[in-house]
């Protein structure tokens, strides 16, 4: 499915009917996500943060999906979807503090960068193991219905995750219990170095939904309006009691898997170049320009705003001290048991500072 045509006009058959301001808002969020991404990438190269996993080229899939969900709906992230969290208003400073694992990091430097979460924004916690979040989205949806709440759950995962144990279990349970769960598969072409064609013999990942008799849709993930529409349809089905939907968002990871990766080893520059020409930002930009709602000046201004915003956050983050040492021993259990009290005391006693 596509909405924004090559020439920037909308396919009337699929036009979601968003106001141009709403579309501009989507575009601005995508730009902001990319600028933040870009800055973090540089910071990592400069050795100022240890790691970053970005969403270059996947902004439409991420922001479009988040925007199609309602405030009360849950987002269960993989690890590339901070754009969705920012869309929901998560403070950028908090995110950057987390990237630095400093005293401002909500989790006191307990996880690698980009492992965000926020109960206030109904955004679950990123964890590295692939696939483990998918069944959580089923349980969350099951609970929402059990409590009689008008909520659905959108869970993000990649093409690679469709080979995981958790995907199989979650798809099956969601279909059997008809939970209000949206399986949002970012098919960005690769699981690190493995192209999707080698991950499965299936021609399309939507074929996998058939195994569970789950409705599936496949959309151009670089077309933010197509993404919005597909996810909105799935949300309506879920909240209308129609059960889960599998949505395949066809996109491409323009950058490395993470800052630790060198994609030149496993894919050609031509391939990447061809996808650069399908940049999701250009796509929607062309449309809003045509509508007269956006132009180069507005664009330059907005980019400057975003750039200054992230720079300011970085400056602030770099002034913050590391988290207090005792934070390492908290939150293992609701109450700190005796053995952790002792270990904490032991740790403070021998802290590295003293020795060297």
């Amino acid at each position: 499915m596509q909405v924004i045509r090559e020439d920037g006009t909308l396919d009337p058959g699929f036009d979601p009917g968003l106001s141009v301001d709403q579309v501009v808002a989507l575009y601005k969020a995508m730009v902001r996500t990319r600028i933040v991404d870009d800055r973090l990438e540089r910071l990592q190269r400069q050795g100022r943060i240890p790691f970053h996993v970005g969403s270059l080229g996947e902004e439409a899939a991420i922001v479009g999906a988040a925007a199609a969900l309602r405030e009360q709906d849950w987002i269960v992230p993989c690890y590339r979807e901070v754009g969705a969290l920012l869309w929901r208003g998560y403070p950028l400073q908090q995110y950057v503090d987390h990237m630095y694992g400093n005293a401002g990091d909500p989790i006191h430097g307990r996880q690698m960068p980009d492992h965000t979460f926020s109960l206030a924004h109904r955004y679950l916690s990123v964890s590295a193991p692939i696939g483990t979040q998918i069944p959580h989205a089923v349980g969350l949806g099951w609970a929402a219905r059990h409590k009689g709440l008008d909520e659905c759950v959108g869970v993000f995962f990649g093409d690679g995750a469709t080979s995981s144990n958790d995907f199989h279990a979650a798809m099956n349970f969601a279909a059997v219990y008809e939970t209000p769960t949206l399986f949002l598969c970012r098919n960005n072409g690769y699981a690190i170095s493995l192209p999707v064609e080698e991950q499965t013999a299936a021609r399309s990942l939507t074929d996998k939904a058939g195994a569970y008799r789950m409705p599936a849709s496949k959309v151009d993930g670089n077309d933010v309006l197509a993404v919005w529409q597909a996810v909105r349809d799935a949300m309506k089905r879920a909240t209308g009691g129609g059960g889960p939907t599998f949505v395949e968002l066809m996109t491409y990871r323009l950058g490395g898997h993470s800052t630790s990766d060198d994609p030149r080893i496993y894919r050609s520059e031509d391939e990447v170049e061809s996808w650069r020409r399908a940049d999701p930002l250009d796509r929607v930009r062309k449309h809003i320009d045509q509508q007269g709602a956006w132009d180069d000046t507005l664009d330059a201004d907005w980019r400057a705003v975003c750039d200054e915003e992230i720079r300011a956050c970085v400056r602030a983050a770099e002034e913050k001290p590391p988290p207090a040492l005792d934070t390492m021993f908290g939150d293992v259990y609701a109450e700190q048991p005796a053995h952790l009290r002792e270990q904490q005391a032991d740790c403070e006693l021998t802290r590295r500072g003293e020795e060297g």
Binding site: R110, S118, L140, A143, H146, N165, F173, Y333
Partner: protein
């Protein structure tokens, strides 16, 4: 007070918790219509409906992963894993997710779930219906591990586990399921986690056990009493977080320790307990702490009574430790 066996007491505990709180649900393979292969959940589906007693597809990943999601939304799912031996397909959800969610969200999210599972040998279950994998979960920071030995404790500990805000793995000694009966109150009551119990006071040797082996330890203690060996028997009840003081106090008095468990010896919980006691009570030790455990082989069938650390193996260990 009615007499109940372990199965009935746990069933009662579940029913009690479900009556108190609509967000308590039971899920697992065959727990509904069948009432569980050991009939522990019998009757729950009739009382609470299929909407709160879920017969799940055959997937431990699904059972535990879905339960984590339910718990993240404030529910208190009680999952049954049909045999502890079959928890491994869902291991990742406990070790990577349930146990770490609170830590990695600084308490913003937490996972109040209970995983009930029958463990241990002595029922001719062989390799895959007899295992005792508790040490794998004790090693995993963020999990609590409980193992009752009798009906009264089982109901009280189960209610504490369900009301606890952290994930709890609740090991049920299947060998004891119908073997022991005692008075169990109908009403709700809790036994606090992390409190061991002295089931037999003694002066000469401290014997630590839990679950089904508690009875073997007790019988062994009784049998050596005729030889003037006075054994203090401790029932841990909660394996982790541990009531270490109870053990250390006892050993400071007796100077001797014997730990009994069904799991294989190597990297079983006994090694940890011996190490902890040696660290804390070194100068009080009058004999090397001993472990009487399952052997470092897969769990056998025909010779399971030679595999298990039963009375006939505990007695000589107590004797040698006392006379060391």
């Amino acid at each position: 007070m009615p007499e109940m066996n372990l199965v009935q007491a746990i069933q009662q505990g579940l029913a009690t918790a479900m009556r108190q709180d609509p967000d308590v649900v039971v899920m697992g393979e065959d727990v509904g219509r069948l009432g569980g292969v050991f009939r522990v959940t019998q009757g729950l589906r009739d009382e609470f409906g299929a909407g709160r007693v879920l017969d799940t597809p055959l997937s431990e990943t699904g059972i535990l992963g879905t339960a984590v999601g339910m718990a993240l939304h404030g529910m208190r799912p009680v999952s049954e894993i049909q045999f502890a031996d079959f928890i491994y397909p869902g291991f990742d959800q406990l070790v990577s997710e349930a146990s770490k969610y609170r830590y990695r969200t600084a308490g913003e999210f937490h996972v109040p779930m209970v995983v009930r599972t029958p463990y241990g040998g002595g029922i001719r279950g062989g390799q895959y219906h007899s295992q005792s994998p508790e040490s794998l979960f004790i090693h995993t920071a963020g999990l609590k591990v409980v193992c009752p030995s009798n009906p009264y404790d089982a109901k009280g500990l189960l209610l504490s586990a369900i009301h606890d805000d952290d994930p709890v793995v609740f090991f049920e000694p299947k060998r004891v399921y119908r073997a022991v009966k005692m008075d169990v109150p109908e009403e709700a009551y809790e036994i606090p986690l992390s409190e061991a119990k002295v089931v037999r006071p003694g002066a000469d040797v401290t014997c630590v056990a839990w679950g089904a082996m508690l009875y073997e330890a007790y019988a062994a203690a009784e049998s050596v009493s005729s030889e003037d060996i006075d054994v203090e028997v401790l029932d841990l009840r909660t394996l982790w977080p541990l009531d270490l003081d109870a053990i250390v106090q006892s050993v400071k008095k007796t100077g001797r320790l014997v730990v009994v468990h069904e799991a294989p010896k190597t990297c079983g919980y006994g090694g940890e307990l011996v190490a902890l006691v040696t660290e804390r009570a070194f100068l009080h030790l009058e004999a090397p702490p001993r472990r009487v455990t399952g052997w470092d082989t897969p769990f056998p069938l025909t010779h399971e009574h030679e595999y298990l650390p039963l009375q006939h193996r505990i007695v000589p260990a107590l004797r040698e430790t006392a006379r060391y």
